[in-house]
Amino acid sequence: MVINRSWHEQVALFEPLCFAQSGDTILLLEDAVLAMQSPITLASFLAKCQANQISVAALLDDCRLRGIDNKYPQIDLVDYTGYVDLVIAHDKQVAW
């Protein structure tokens, strides 16, 4: 499962967690990558994902567009081809 969501308030990042389970990937897309600039909230979010065996990825092109660097080793950066691979690897996607 791939969950993507535009991130507006920091609390929004935790919302898709009610869908995600072990083996799923949460993909940060569009404005969702802005969360990677925030040092506080993402640490607890990533810890919760790790505890539930949920992978986290972010779309490289959307990071570059917004000038966002990835300082988190737990987050995989993927391009659109990697996004396609994620969709193929999971049986369904939940858009957020």
């Binding site: 791939v2 535009s6 897309l29 569009e30 404005d31 092109d61 959307d62 391009d79 659109y80 081809t81 996004y83 396609v84 691979d85 969709v87 193929i88 049986d91 369904k92 996607q93 858009a95 957020w96």
Partner: protein, 136 residues
């Protein structure tokens, strides 16, 4: 694999047109096929024939038209969402007598590369495809 695409975000107030197009291009380049792109909710605005961005701005409508022509991918606008938001085929405009001058009106507001159909077409495609991806 066969991927069914659902687009629900508006022109300009969402990035969905750009994201979906980049995804579709990458999928085709990787050897997958897009069974159809279905435009629902505000996504129907991406079919607007009259959209005319500035020269250096991203042109969603014509990018969809080019992608569809190059890959023979069907573009489908939801009829009910389209009628609500004023996206219609030539035939609908005639049927609903919406043109200002009935005698000379043959022009819908949806680009002719987009067909107009019901939500059944979305559901059938989701049953026939191996994957479905939504862009909001």
């Amino acid at each position: 694999m066969n991927v069914n695409i659902l687009v629900t975000g508006a022109l300009y107030s969402s990035q969905s047109a750009y994201s979906a197009l980049r995804f579709c291009q990458a999928a085709v380049a990787a050897g997958h096929s897009i069974s159809q792109v279905f435009f629902y909710q505000d996504g129907v605005t991406q079919a607007n024939l009259y959209s005319l961005p500035l020269d250096d701005e991203f042109d969603a409508v014509n990018s969809w038209v080019r992608f569809s022509q190059q890959t023979s991918t069907p573009l489908v606008v939801c009829v009910s969402a389209g009628e609500r938001r004023g996206l219609m085929s030539d035939e609908q405009v005639l049927e609903h007598h919406l043109g200002r001058n009935a005698a000379i009106d043959s022009n819908g507001s949806a680009h002719s590369q987009f067909s107009v159909a019901g939500l059944g077409v979305l559901h059938q495609a989701s049953l026939d495809s191996e994957r479905m991806v939504t862009f909001k």
